[in-house]
Every structure is written in structure tokens, then in C-alpha cells.
Symmetry: C2
Subunit: 221 residues, 2 copies
DNA sequence: TCATATATTTACGTATACATTATAAAATTA
DNA sequence: TAATTTTATAATGTATACGTAAATATATGA
């Protein structure tokens, strides 16, 4: 029945999920004891989990005000997207310079196909999942573990906002072409081109997201 | 008598300093109780500090083998330098696009002067300090707080290796020209140029460092 | 002697008790 | 009544106790 995970690790993953899914609302405050009771454990592992979550930028621990779930302003989103843009583009470049075989691109190919299918079925939820998979796969192919960590960290932080705007934006048909072109450049070993293509793709995505957030008045997501 | 800092925060900063200065040798293992005794506090705050240090990538917590101070291989250094290259170059670009006044460049100017003086006096220690100050100032001018966090994190990790190679490398005279040119481009609002110049500067620095590490057989710093 | 099983030790994970300190409440005074 | 001081409350920070599980040492048998 037990899975060997420590309570701290459990608290960490459960809390992260609650935050990312917005079930612990952004901007809300929570006491250690409250979370401990919710999770059915003592304060100690909860406290340890919150310290890690703070280091990862998801929450802020304010001594007498509880744990605050951080919300993201358009400026925050802009910061994060700028970082992801650079690091993913670098990953594309690095990936193109590695000598990969066809088999290594299977997951990325698959992700693109899933996006096609999801678009055809107007299933934006699935599209978003596949889109994140593609980006994460790109980062994996770049073979820089620290970039992968940063990517995961910020993807978590940004998921709330992306979900919020998913149905407000035009159908991301161009995205799919972009992905295909980036992957082709990587396959062909054209590092500079892969980098430039992906960078343009990301810059466009940022523009769309920020404009939507401001247009719809989401000043703190 | 007390300074208001919690024991956890104290443990965090003391441990970080010990690690960065290599007084806790990279690759070495330490028990919670050992560190607690060394710091004159109970295991609890030490444990909390180690969780944060682990999240920051300085150590690895291995259940029955103690806390391991992570060492850096050339591959690790390469990963970190690649990330810093991208994010600093972006910062240069962003800084050039901000409307700064002369006063905002004082610290950066000062850092450059310090580097000149240090070079003239053959004081490489001081040069390294001023060099890091310039880069950190560049990041600050970029006005992306998350990049600043990442920069601090990886600068800490890399300091050991930089110190080690400081006296092995040729005098960094060209560095100073580079810095001046980057700052001028930022001042003139030439974003693309600032980016490209700084990128080239960073790529060169990476090349020098990695070659030195491999040449001298520092496979785990 | 070597392999396997058993016992012991020890470090960690967690709960809990307690000290500390910031906030809120109450009381006092102008 | 409003401001200020005092008291009380409550949440955090820290130490400690203890159960658990992993690693080591010991013992047993082939």
C-alpha cells in the first residue's frame, strides 16, 4: 500500500499539484498546521516541502502570515518566457549539433502528431499537453540537464496562466508548422537555423500570451 | 547579541560559504549531526538548510551516506557556462532597450576600472571579484529578477573552478576591452550589438576555462 | 574458508514539546 | 475617543525523542 516515498516528497508533489492546478489559489495564504492537517502528517515534512517549493519559486514563506501561493503578473510571465525562449533555442542548437539517430526523434515526432490530431478534434487541452511534451523533448535533446531543470520549474509556474488563456487565443495552427520546421532543422544538423526558428516561435508565443493577459485584465494569475 | 537571522538562514549562508570556498571539499560526505555540531545547533535547521542547498544544486542528500558536496565535471561547467552565456547576453540586450541614465551605469563603470587597476597590479583575485561584479551588474541592468537568481546560483557553483584556474590562464586583458564595448553598446541602445558582443565574450571565456580544466586534468572540481 | 543468516548499530524521517516572537486584543491614560 | 502600553494569543523556529530502515558486524553452518 505504501510507495516508499517519504512524507516530505509526498507533501512536495501533492502541494505542487494543488498549486499548479490552482486548487490552492494563487495569492492565498496557508498555515503550516493547516496544510499539515490537510495532508495528514505533522508540520515537519510539510515545512520541509514548503522550503523546497520556496526555493523553486512557487511560494513565499512569510513568517507570521503563512505560506503564500505566488501569483504571476504579466511582468513575471514576461521574465519567464524570456528565459524559456533563450534556453529552449539554445537547446535546439545543441540538439542539432548532437549526432542523433532517427529513433531519438520518436517522442518529438509523436508529440507533433498528437498536436495535429488534437487540433483536428478541437481538443485544446490535449494540444497543450502535447505542446509541452514537444518543448520538453526539445530540451531533453539539447542534453543539458540544468536547462531541463529550469524548464520544468518554470513550466510548472506558467501552467496556470497558459490554461487560463488556452481558449481565448486563436487556434495554434501555425505552431505546428513551426515545430515541424524546428525538428527538421535539428534532424538536418542545421544548428543556427534550428535556433533561429525556435526563437521566433517562442517570441511569438510570448507576444500572444502577454497580450491576452493584458487584454483580459489578468493582472495576477 | 542576536542578529535576527534564523538558525536555518545562518546554516544556509555558512554552509554555502564553506562549500564555495572549498573548505567543505567537493565530493566529500557529511552527516547531518556532524554539520549540526559544527554549527552549534540542532539537526533541524541544518536539515532545512541542506534541503534548500540541494534545491539550489550545491549538494546532494543521500539518505544513508550523508550530504554530498557536489563536484563539477567539465561537462557540468559546460552546461553552466552555456546557460550563463545565453542569459547574460539576453540581459545585455534587455539592458540596451531600457532607458537608463548615466548614473545607472556607475557600478558597471566602476567595476571595469577596478579590473583595469587589478590587472595593472597583477592582482588576479581582485580582478576576478570585479569581473563577477560587472557580470552581476549587467544582469541587474537587464531587469529580469529570475535571471538574477539563476546567475547568483550558478556563479556560486562555478566559483571554485574559476578560482582554481585563475592563475593558469593568460592575463585577461582582452576581457576588459570586451566589457567596455558591451557597456558602450548598452549605453547607445544598440541591443543586438550588445547581445552579440557579450555572447562572443562569454563563449570565449567558456572555451578558455574548459580547455584549462581538461589540460590540467581537473576532472572533478 | 566462505556464504548466508541474524543481530546490532546508526543515521535518518517524523512527531511532538517547548521557546520565541509577531500580531491581535485588552486595558490604561491623555 | 484616540493613542499608547500591556497582556494574551497564536504561529513559527528549534530541540529532542523515538521509531524505522539501512548498513555493518557477528554468528552460524556448509
Amino acid at each position: 500500500m505504501s510507495k516508499g516515498k517519504s512524507n516530505t516528497q509526498q507533501a512536495l508533489s501533492v502541494l505542487k499539484e494543488l498549486i499548479v492546478d490552482n486548487r490552492l489559489a494563487s495569492g492565498s495564504n496557508h498555515l503550516e498546521s493547516e496544510l499539515a492537517e490537510m495532508l495528514g502528517m505533522s508540520r515537519t515534512p510539510v515545512r520541509e516541502a514548503t522550503l523546497i517549493l520556496e526555493a523553486q519559486g512557487l511560494i513565499e514563506v512569510k513568517p507570521r502570515h503563512g505560506i503564500r501561493i505566488l501569483s504571476l503578473s504579466p511582468k513575471d510571465m514576461s521574465e519567464i518566457y524570456d528565459i524559456l525562449t533563450e534556453l529552449e533555442s539554445l537547446s535546439a542548437e545543441l540538439a542539432a549539433n548532437m549526432k542523433y539517430s532517427e529513433a531519438d526523434f520518436l517522442v518529438a515526432e509523436n508529440a507533433i502528431e498528437k498536436m495535429d490530431k488534437a487540433l483536428a478534434e478541437d481538443d485544446l487541452e490535449s494540444w497543450a499537453v502535447a505542446d509541452e511534451l514537444f518543448h520538453s523533448e526539445l530540451v531533453r535533446l539539447g542534453n543539458n540537464g540544468r536547462i531541463a531543470n529550469i524548464f520544468t520549474m518554470y513550466s510548472d509556474q506558467v501552467r496556470r496562466a497558459r490554461k487560463l488563456t488556452l481558449n481565448l487565443r486563436p487556434k495554434p495552427t501555425k505552431s505546428n508548422d513551426d515545430h515541424r520546421n524546428v525538428l527538421k532543422a535539428i534532424r538536418d544538423g542545421k544548428a543556427g537555423e534550428a535556433r533561429i526558428l525556435h526563437r521566433a516561435h517562442r517570441i511569438q508565443a510570448k507576444k500572444v500570451l502577454i497580450e491576452l493577459l493584458e487584454q483580459y485584465g489578468f493582472h495576477n494569475v
